[in-house]
Amino acid sequence: MTAATRRMGSARAAWWRQGWRRFAANRLSLIGLVLLALFVAAGLAAPLLAPFGPFQLGGPRLGAPSAVHLFGCDQLGRDIFSGVLYGARTSLAVGFLSVGLSLLLGITVGAVAGYYGGRIDDLAMRITEIFQVLPRFFLALIIVAMFGASLTGTIFVIGILSWAEIARLVRGEFLSFRDRPFVTAARAYGAGDAQIMLREILPNAIATVVVAAALQIPAAIILEASLSFIGAGDPTVMSWGRMLTSAQQYMRQAWWTAVFPGLAISLLAMSLALVADGINDFLNPRLGRAR
C-alpha cells in the first residue's frame, strides 16, 4: 500500500513541477514573484526591520535620505523607510483579506446562479449588477462617513465592492461545466448538488477565478491607498496613501516624501499583476496536454 501511496503523491508533485516550470518560463512572472516575496517579507518583518516606529517622531524634519534614515523623513520627522515597511503590512492585509471576502461572496453567489439557472440565476444576476454599477470610491466614502474609518471597515467595504466581478466569472464557468458529461455522470451515480458544485465543478472553475482574484488585489491596494489619501482610512495604522497625502505639500522640496511611498504602491501592484499572469500560465497548460 505504501508504494501506491507514494505514487499518488508523485502525480500531485508532477502537477506542481510542470506548473512551476510554466510559471518560471516567463521571466516577468519570476521578477513579480521575487518582488512580491520581498514585500511580504518586509511587511511580516516590519517590526524587526524598521529602525523606528511608523509614527515615531524625532528625526530631522524633511530630512533627506541618509545612512540613518534610508528614505529620509517627512515633515513631522517620521522615518519614511519605517513608514513604507509598516505600510506594506496594511496594504497586503487589505489586499488579501478584502479579496478573500470577495472570493467567498462571489463564488457562493456565482456557483448557485450558474448551477441552478432559471429564476435563481435571474435574481442573483440582478443583485450582482447592482453591486457592479455602484461607484466604488464614493460608496467607500459613504460607508466610512457612516461607520467611521477602520481597517476592518475598509477591508469589508472593498470586499463588498469586488465580489460582483468574481460572481460573474464563476457563474459563467458553472454554466459551462453544468452540462458536461462528467457532471451528468456524477448526477447519474447519485451525487448531490452541493457535492457536484464543490467537488466536481469548482476545481475546474477555479483557474479563471484565481487569476481574476489575483488581479483584484492590486486594485484593492490602490483603492485603500486612495481612501487613505483623502483621509478616509484608518488613522491608527500607517498607510502608503496617507504618506502621499502628507507628501502633497512638500513634494517639491522633499521628493523622497512622495517618491518612496508612490514607488511602493506601484511596485507592489505591478508585482501582483505579474504573478497573476504567471498563475495563469501555471494553471492553464496550452500545448502540454496529450490528446
Partner: protein, 318 residues
C-alpha cells in the same frame, strides 16, 4: 414475460425551451419503450431525433413534461431518497465523448472512488483495490498502474474504458450507452464493442445502446427502436427490422449506410430534416417521405403491430 421491465418509458415526453425565444421543443413526444433483463435494445436516430434526451430521461436526469418512467414497476418521480439511491446504482450511463466524460482535475483513482464511497459498495480501505480491479476488468491492466494518473494522459479508447469501469463500479443491472464508440478510431471501436459485449454476457447486464451507426447496431442489439423527431417510428427484433424494414425512414437510413456489399448507394433522402421546434403536423416524416398522402398531414400514426414483435408507425402497409 410477466416480469416487470427494468426500465420503461410510458408516454414519456420531454420539453425544452429554446434559448431567447418563446418556442418550445418537444424533444421527446410520447414514447413507450421497455427494457427487460438480459437484452440489448438499440435506440437509433440521427441528430435531433431526441434519443439522447430520452436516454437521460429514462435515468431520471431530465424531467418529464408528460408520461412517466418506471423502474422495475415503480414511478421514478415518486421514489423517496433512499430508493432513488438504489435506482441510481441500478441504472448507469456511458457517454459519447471520451474527452469530456472524466473530470480533468481528478485522478482516475478519485474518479472511481467517489461512486464507490457514495454508495458504500466496499469499505473505505478496500476502495483502491476495487478500483484497480475494475480497471483490470475493462482491459486496462494492471489496473493499479493507472490509478494515479490524470485523464489527459490517456487516449480516447482508454478513457472510454475508464468511463465504462466507473459505470460498472456500482454493479448496475442496466447500462445506457450513448454512442459509446462513435468518437473512437475504427480499430479501437472493435475493441470497445467486444468489451461491451463480453461484459454484458458476463455480468448479465441489460443495455440501451444509442447510436446512429446501423452497422454497430446490427452487431450489438437484440431489439431495435428507430426514432425520428421525438417519436418512435419502428421497433422490432434486430433481424426482422434489418431484413424487412417497414417504415420509409428506416429504409432511408439503411440506404444511407455506407456498405461494401452494395455496389451503389441508394438515392439520398430528399429534403432537409425539419426543425425540432417546428415539426410537421401529423406524421413528422411526411415532408421527406416518398409515399406521403394527405392523410399523413392530418393524422399522426401510432405504433401498430405489423408482425410478431415488429411494430411500425405508418398509416400504410409498405
Amino acid at each position: 414475460m410477466s416480469e416487470a421491465p427494468i426500465l420503461a418509458a410510458e408516454g414519456a415526453a420531454v420539453r425544452f425551451a429554446v434559448r431567447g425565444s418563446k418556442k418550445q421543443v418537444m424533444a421527446v413526444d410520447g414514447v413507450d419503450l421497455a427494457l427487460h433483463a438480459d437484452e440489448t435494445v438499440a435506440l437509433v436516430g440521427e441528430s435531433g431525433s431526441g434519443k439522447t434526451t430520452l436516454g437521460l430521461a429514462l435515468l431520471g436526469l431530465r424531467s418529464l413534461a408528460g408520461g412517466r418512467v418506471a423502474w422495475r414497476g415503480r414511478d421514478v418521480a415518486s421514489l423517496d431518497r433512499h430508493t432513488l439511491r438504489r435506482f441510481r446504482r441500478d441504472a448507469q450511463i456511458v457517454f459519447q465523448d471520451p474527452y469530456a466524460s472524466l473530470n480533468p482535475r481528478l485522478t482516475i483513482a478519485e474518479t472511481l472512488r467517489r461512486p464507490l464511497a457514495l454508495h458504500r459498495i466496499v469499505p473505505a480501505d478496500a476502495q483502491r483495490d476495487e478500483s484497480a480491479r475494475l480497471l483490470d476488468r475493462v482491459g486496462l491492466q494492471p489496473g493499479a498502474l493507472y490509478l494515479d494518473r490524470y485523464p489527459h494522459e490517456f487516449s480516447g479508447g482508454q478513457r472510454q474504458r475508464i468511463a465504462i469501469a466507473r459505470a460498472l463500479s456500482l454493479r448496475p443491472g442496466l447500462l445506457v450507452a450513448d454512442e459509446p464508440v462513435s468518437a473512437l478510431d475504427v480499430s479501437i471501436r472493435s475493441q470497445v464493442l467486444n468489451l461491451l459485449t463480453e461484459l454484458r454476457q458476463a455480468l448479465g447486464l441489460s443495455m440501451l445502446f444509442l447510436s446512429h451507426d446501423l452497422g454497430v447496431v446490427r452487431f450489438i442489439a437484440s431489439r431495435v427502436a428507430v426514432m425520428y423527431l421525438g417519436r418512435l417510428v419502428e421497433t422490432g427484433p434486430t433481424r426482422a427490422l434489418f431484413e424487412t424494414p417497414r417504415h420509409p425512414y428506416t429504409r432511408a437510413l439503411l440506404a444511407a449506410a455506407p456498405s461494401l456489399s452494395r455496389a451503389i448507394a441508394g438515392p439520398p433522402l430528399a429534403g432537409e430534416p425539419p426543425l425540432p421546434s417546428d415539426p410537421p403536423s401529423g406524421c413528422r416524416f411526411r415532408t421527406r417521405c416518398p409515399f406521403a398522402k394527405p392523410r399523413c398531414a392530418e393524422e399522426t400514426p401510432d405504433l401498430r403491430d405489423a408482425a410478431a414483435g415488429h411494430r411500425v408507425a405508418c398509416h400504410f402497409d409498405l
